[in-house]
Every structure is written in C-alpha cells, then in structure tokens.
Amino acid sequence: MEFARIREFESPLERYLAEMIKDWGEKYVLPYRREFDEDWKEHRYVEPALEKLMVGYGFQMGVFPGEFGGWGIGNSDYFGSITARLMEEIGRYDTGIAVSVGVTFWPLFMITVKPHINYDLCAEFSELFARKKLTIAANAMTEPQGGSDIENLDELRGKTIRTTAVLDGDEWVINGHKLWPTNTGGMADLFGVVCTTKPGEADEKYFAYIYIPANLPGVKQGEPYRKAGMAADKNSDIWFDNVRVPKHYRAWGEGLDAKYFREIIATGCLGSAAMTLGAMENIYEILYEKCGELRYRGKPLKENTAVAAVLADIAAEIEVSRAAVYTYARMLDRPDIYGERYSAEMVARGRALKLKVCDACCDVARKAVDLLSHYGIDRSFDVEKHWRDVKMVQLWMGGRQLCQMDVARHFYDCKQL
C-alpha cells in the first residue's frame, strides 16, 4: 500500500535518492536493527551502517554545491522536498540514523543553502567531508542552564546563551559547555556552535554561529548518555575551553547568524516531522503483517472491527501527516512564493508541523504497542523500538511547549509569550 504522494511535487533526484536509501536500509540496517539498543555506546553495528550510507552511497557530500564535489541539495529548487524525503526514508529504518544524518547536514545548511552559500567555508569544509571516511557534524545549541531557551530566539534573542565567543585578533576564542547535541559522545568531526559575543544581551547581533573542528585543543566530548531509545543517536556533554578558530569560521556575522539560524530551526522541524513520518510508515508495515497473522475472536486481528478502527486511525494519521510534511517541504522549496525560510511565519509553520506530526507519531506508536499487547512490548517486533525512539523527536528542539509558543505567537499575534 502507498500513502498519498503528490507526484508532481516529486523531484527526479528525490526519487532516485529514495531508491538508494531503500537499498541501503534493507541491506545494512534491517539485519542489524535489533542490535542497536545494546550498541548505544560502542556503535559497532550503527557506525558501519551509517558509514555505508554516508561514504559508500555518498550522502556525506550531499549538501555541498556541485563545484565542491557535492550533490547540490542546498542550492536545489527542491531543497525542502529532498530533505524531507531523505529523513522520511531513513526514518523508516531508524530514526536514530536519520537524525545522525540530518544533524550532519544541519550546521552545514547555514553555509550551503541558497541564497546564503558561504563559498569560502564550503571550499574548506567540503574537503573534510570529501574524505573517504565517515565524517560527522553536530549542532551545539543546548546549554545546562536554560534548555530550549537557546532556540527561543523570538522571545529571548540570545540573552541566556553562556557560551562566549571573543574576538582576539583574527581568531575567535570560544568558551562554554553544551549538552545533548546529536552526534557527540566522540562522533563529531565538526561543530556548529551557538555562542554570544556579549553575554546577557538580548540582541540578535550578538548571536554568533561559529564552526569548531572537533580535533582542536580545548574541545572535549564526554561519554555518550544512556537513553530510553535512539541508540543510533549519540549525545554527550561538550566543553570548549579557550578554543581558537579563525575569524572567518563565524558563519555570516552580526544579525545574519541569527537570521539563518531561524532557517535551520525551520528545516529541523521539517526533518523531525519527516523522520517520524517514516517511522509511522514502518509501524504500519509491521502492523499490516502482524495483524494478519495474530488471531482474535476466531479471525485475524485486523478483521475485528474494534481493531480495524484503530488500524484505520493509524493509516489516517500517516496519510494526513505525509500530506502535511510535503506541503511544508514545498513551501520551503519556494521562498519566492511563500517567503524566506527564516521568516517568523515559516518558522511557526514548521513548529506547527513538528508539533502535529510528532504527536501523531507518538500516538500511532502507542496504539500499535497496545494492539499487539505481548508482542507490542517485545523488542523482536520493532514496534516498541519505534515507540521509544520517536518520543525523543517529540522532545527535542524545545519539545511541545516551545512549538506551542511559537505557533501561538504567530497565529494569534501574541506579544507577551
């Protein structure tokens, strides 16, 4: 069965990439997926699968412009659609790997997406990612003291950021402590770091987005955290202790960093919604099989009207979620029609999408676990893995509450939230 996909929205590259991911997922993820939970620290199963996708299939260079050897996703007219499709297809196999891939692209979006392509930094960082070895980036935002306050730009305008960037000649000197970024715990080769050039000031011109290679003196990644799920996504503390980087490692400069950071909030919302859509589709596939096999009241589970009603609700959520994800993706494809991706309107629409689709996915996963009862909580049926994993997607980027505030602020013109 296929859920709604508007074919005229689909780019040729997107369809081709989806086929590649399917080939990869069937060969390199599904046979090992049940080992991922125990592999949260070592990544003996996760990393080879990730490396195969990023290096073997070449996705690692995907966002860089063609002149730097990339696929030019960032300067494609289908930037949003392709991003959504990648996250959807990878999320079908494992949302942890999806976020690892997505977050490698995420900091690079600041400098690789048209019209704001920073050619100098693309030239420099594309060499790092062109290596025939797994190369990972991380977006270091969250800090111990304020959680999602960092992402709450419209209200706080960077006031609570404590990671500092001080210009010393031609170098930025970075000091600070970040928590929880995806792809940390020793994985990251490059960080995009949210800093302030004037602590305590609520002014976006002091918001700085600075790239820090992970191998520099003063950078320390902690041990990965143990979590309820999402084993393929490693998270840890990171400390920056007098780390020095060249001045031009700041993505854009005063005012622009905050502006384009909003754009990566929008794409982060899209990616989160798309990967949970993929997880829902895999849950559907598992239910399709198991609810035909298991029998209740003398017939297959799915032939009982009470069960069929729940299955229908699940299918309806997926159908509508896919439509919503690709509608928003197309809006991001066309800033000429729908406005800049960093606009308050587009960020609010992204927040609304993430809020709704992540809620739908958590609900779908919860219902699927309940339907299968004993088998629902059994890790060999993968439904419970999705149930644990997707909860994290709902929680990150400020969780439901920050989404709600951004949505309310825009759609109800709230001034005091």
């Binding site: 999602s148 955290y225 979590k227 209740y296 969780g399």
Partner: protein, 381 residues
Amino acid sequence: MRTTINPLAELKSDTAEMITKSIKEWAEKEVMPYRHEIDDNFEMAERAMKKLFVDIGMQKLLVPESAGGAGLSFEELPPILYHSFSEIGKADAGIGFVLSALVASSASAIGSEVFDFMVDKLSSGFCRVSIVPPQFGNDDFRGFELAKAVEKGNKIRIKFYGRPLNSGFDADLFVVFCNYDGVSLAVLDGEEVERGEIVKTAGLNASRNCDVRIKAEVEKSRIIKGDAWKRLEIYLNLCLSSLCVGSAVDSCRIVGDWAEKRFIRGKPLKDNTVDAEVLGEVAKEAIEASMAAQFLAKSMLEDRSDDEIHTLSAITALKCSGAAFNVADRAMELMASQGYAREGLLEKQWRDAKSIAALLNQQHSLLELSERFFASKLWER
C-alpha cells in the same frame, strides 16, 4: 509538593503500616541506589526481589502462620496490597509486576487442594510464579485461546505453546488458564515446562519472560475450577493498579523536583503557565489513579459479587495503568532530554507503565465492559 492524598480510613491498618515501612526501607537500601542500572543488571533486580519476597516475606502473605507465613485473610488483604504495591511502584514496577503474579495466583488457590502444593513452594525459599493467560489464537475463550486440558485416566494432560504474562524464564510455578470444565487454572511445577530464550522487552525487566511449551500430565488436584480465574484477575488487577499508582506518584515526584530546579524564561519551570498546566495534569492523573485503586480495595472488603468486583478491577487497572503512563509521558515532555535519559529515572517508569498497559490488552477489556454494561453479545456463537 503534594501529589498524594491520604488513604481512605477503611484502608488503614497497623499491619499495612508495618509492611509499608519495611518496603520503604527495602526500596531505599536495595533499589534506589542502583535504580538507574537495574535494567542492565538482572542480578541486582534478583537480589532486591529476594529481599522483598523472602526476607520481608511478601511471597508468604497468604501462607498460613503454621507454615511460616503471615496468614492474611481476604478481609485483611486488599488494604495491605494497596499500600504495599503503591510503595513498590515508587521503586521498581518490574519487581512489583513479578510479585503481583505471585500474590494473585496464591489468592486464586486459597481453599483449593492445590494450595498446599503452592504453600510448600512459597515456604521453601525464593519463588516466582508465572501466569499463563489466554493467548491470541483460536476463539475458545472470549476471542482467545486457552491451554488444552484433556482427561487421561486420573490425570489431566495440559498442552500449550505461547507466552506467559510474566517471569516465564525464571518461574518456579506456572498457573495456566486452561479449558477444563469451562475455564480453570492448572498449577504446574516449573520443571514441567519447557522454556525458550529470554524475550527482550520494552520494560519490566525484573520479569524475564520467554515462550514456553507445556506437555504435562498432572493430578486433578492441581486444577482449580470455578471462578478461581476471576479471583486471580481481581487480585492481579488490584496489585497492578496499586503498583501503577506508585509509579505515577514517583513520576510526579521526579518532574516536581525538576520543575523546581529548572529555570526557563528566567523563572522556575513550574512558574511558567504552559508548564504548570502539564504539572497540573500529571497531578490530576496520579490522584485519580490513587482514588480508583483505593475504591477498588475498599470495594473488595464489601459484600459484592465476584462478577461486579471483577469488572471493577478491570476498569481500575485500565485507569491506573493509563494514568501511570500518561504521567510519565507528559512529565517527560517537561523534562525533555533529562526525562529521556536513563539517569533521570523517569524513563524507566515510562517504559514499565507502558508495558503494564499493553499487557492489560485494552481493546479486549473494553469489549468485556461493553458486554457487561450494554449486554453486547460479542462472544455468542
């Protein structure tokens, strides 16, 4: 912070107070210091279980005093179960889940010939009892399949393949729902059961489960006929409901602590209205669950029919397991990554509560309620 209510007067007893105090001490000493690693280290859970089951004597609540047990009567049992399981639920729902099956099975056997057999087992050291409920499969019991029981001379041959509710891998006794004389319970020694490999599950890790194959011939005295299966479900539902109350209260405590310490938008989380609303909801869920479980325990002391109590117990278990999950799930929203991390301790309550809710088979329970309250003819052939 106050996310509990004082228990109903009818549920207060000196014995309950004494047992609860022992369980609190047990939790502080045997569980809380190791709680974040207990899911990865079964030996820790097993050591804690032994202390609770044997040293504190929870596995012998119903064992006669002459055999070294507490010899509690049905009149004393419900309040004690409410208080003790609520306390255990604050510490480790998985351990409580294993104990629930033992207590419910013991209660179902009182007054039957097989009770002495169970008493011997319960009195001779650490014991786990696995319940083997009806399974997905053929339609021979309300849409489910029972273990097959066939008379063979003076014995009954029991045949089954499937998954127990709990502890299939470790159990010393199995209490099997079978199709003898309607629905009966067959009590089997662990040695009469062939076990598969441990099944990895979302939570309740103190209960190591597996698929089991049974081909056993047992004396007729090992069969408990009549409404014993209903009594088993009533006590199981009471224990699980109370366990979920404890889980919900603990999740409230965890998120309450977080909401005090965590500053967002320049003030404690609890002082932001959007977050305070969530806190209000989790408190409401926890207190509702506590009220429902207490009402069940109190009702079990009154002169009501088994059928009525059976139905009430199913409703209560659905309510309390749903509440325990909702509390943990919404609390996790506020705690975000910290709630999702093992060290935050909330995620264990979240996984355990969800596992209990799933095992209660909500869809089926709702159909049973429809049959009772609206005379739906769902199982008429």
